[in-house]
Every structure is written in C-alpha cells, then in structure tokens.
C-alpha cells in the first residue's frame, strides 16, 4: 500500500528528529517541596486537634480532682466519728 509505505518512510525520517532540550530538575524539586509541605500541613491538622482535645480533657480532670480533694476528708474520719459516738 502506497500510503502505508509513505507512512513508514516518514516515521523513519521522524525518528531522527531531536526533541527540544529541557531542564526540569529545579521545577520538579520545587513542585515536590510544595506538595510535601501541603501534605505536612494536612497531616499536622488532626494532630493539632488531638493535642487541643487532650489538653482540654486534662485541664477538666485536674479541676475535678481538686474539687474532690477539697470536698473529701481524711480516710480515718468516718471511723473516728463512729468511735466518738460509741464512747459517748
């Protein structure tokens, strides 16, 4: 087929073409760095939320503990009360 042989001849000719010279190293590294910092930002967010939640929980636990400590009395208080009542 005439067209096919012409196609093949053109393909052979096209193979010797030299492509444009490119130097993409700098831009690729810049793109990768930008992508990396975006990923880090995204992955840092859940950690930040977790840290905030756990510190809020810790603060409330400390407040409750102080309140309970202030409200409570010594462990022997109930026994001494009972003994005092018997003695009377």
């Amino acid at each position: 087929m005439k067209n096919e042989s012409l196609f093949e001849a053109l393909a052979a000719r096209a193979r010797s073409e030299s492509p444009p010279v490119v130097d993409v190293a700098g831009r690729v590294i810049a793109r990768l760095n930008a992508q990396q910092s975006r990923i880090e930002q995204i992955s840092e967010k859940p950690l930040l939320w977790l840290a905030a939640a756990s510190s809020a929980f810790a603060v409330s636990a400390v407040v409750i503990a102080i309140m309970v400590y202030n409200a409570s009395t010594g462990p022997l208080y109930e026994i001494s009360q009972a003994i005092a009542w018997v003695v009377q």
Binding site: L10, R13, S16, E17, P20, V21, V22, D23, R31
Partner: protein, 226 residues
C-alpha cells in the same frame, strides 16, 4: 638460500599476523570489560541515588532527573509538540515517578520504569484532549502533496509534525500503539511493557489501528477527489 628461507618466512609472517590479531582481540576484550565495569558502576550509582531519593534526598533525585530528562523529553515529544505542554508533561513524569518510587523494584533499569510512566502520562494527556474534543487540525492536501517529494528530502521535524497531526485524527488507543510501533520502533514485547497491555492485546490493537489508518487514508482520497 633465499628460496629455502621463503616457506619459513611465510610461516613467520602468518604467525606474526595471528599474534597481532590475538593482541587486538585481547585489547578489545579489555575495552569491553572496562566498558562493562563502567556500566555496572553507573548502574550501581543510579540505584544508590534511587535509594537516597526514597529517603528524601533531593540532590540524589536531581541527579536522576538530569540523567534521564533528555530520554523522557524524547518520548513525550511524540505526545505533544507544544513546547509548554511538553515541558509540563516531562515535569509530571518526574513528579509521578517520585511519588511512586516505593513501587520500583530495582529488577529492571530505572530508565525502563521511567519510560513506562512517561508513556502513561502521555496517553493520559491524549485521553484528556480527546474528552475535550481538542483535535489538532490536519489538512488532507498536505498528505497528498507528499508523494511529489521523496521522504528523504523532508525535514525530520516536518515529517514528525505531519505524522503527529495525522495520528491525532485517530482514537488515543490507536494513536498510542501506532506511535510506539512506528515512531518509537518498539517491538510487541516492548509495546506491551510500556502500555501495560498483554502481547496479544498489542497485536490485536496494532491490527485495528492500522485498519483505521487505512480507512483514514481512503477517506482522505475520496475527499481530495471531490
């Protein structure tokens, strides 16, 4: 005296020639061994760069990019002849390669693995173009004028441009297989490796693509006759 010495002289000349051939062949084998050593050393250095890149060493990855960018540029020049798009595609290949460095098993040369990614990136670009119906213009008269010229007289760039626009009239799948088989001169196995298709699929696809190309030529002929 001279005559009696002649056979001995012939023998010694032959021996001398044999000796020279032997020395040359030994030197050749030394060069080959040296070449092989150099190749092995460069392959080892490349693998080391791949390992360092995986650990986040950007200098190592820069070295890999600089080493292979001209090869990748050559492959992607078949997919887009727009310089800006072409450069963008080359960048995409190296970004995508970095992201999937973990899947490179170091069994085949790094450049083969990169070529596969480049083919995938280029094919994806064609599919996006086809979805947006962005077909490059192609004048049938241009093709018809060609037989007047011998293909050897045509500038390689002009030939590549013409084929690029002709193949753009086909579906991305047909275009890919014809580009790899004819322009990249890949055999069936290499085409299968680059596309991720099976060898039998490559054969079937090549046959179909060639038929569609013939149909395109036939249509072109009819339109030119009108």
């Amino acid at each position: 005296m001279v005559l009696s010495n002649l056979p001995g002289r012939i023998v010694s000349l032959r021996a001398e020639r044999l000796l020279v051939e032997l020395v040359y062949s030994l030197m050749d084998s030394e060069y080959v061994a040296e070449d092989r050593q150099q190749t092995n050393a460069s392959l080892a250095a490349e693998l080391e760069d791949v390992r360092l890149s995986r650990q986040g060493d950007s200098d190592a990855y820069t070295r890999l990019i600089k080493q292979h960018q001209s090869h990748i540029s050559r492959i992607l020049w078949r997919f887009s002849r727009d310089r800006l798009v072409h450069e963008e595609l080359v960048q995409d290949v190296f970004v995508e390669a970095y992201m999937s460095l973990g899947s490179y098993r170091e069994k085949a040369p790094f450049v083969h693995w990169l070529s596969r990614i480049a083919t995938r990136v280029g094919y994806r670009y064609w599919k996006q173009q086809a979805r947006r119906h962005e077909t490059e213009s192609f004048s049938l008269a241009e093709w018809d004028q060609l037989p007047d010229k011998s293909p050897e007289d045509i500038d390689p760039g002009q030939a590549a441009e013409l084929l690029h626009r002709l193949l753009a009239q086909l579906q991305p799948r047909d275009r890919l297989v014809l580009t790899l088989r004819y322009l990249e001169e890949c055999d069936v196995a290499e085409t299968a490796r680059r596309t991720g298709w099976t060898k039998s699929m490559v054969k079937v696809q090549s046959l179909r693509a060639r038929k569609r190309l013939e149909k395109l030529f036939a249509q072109a002929g009819k339109e030119l006759q009108r």
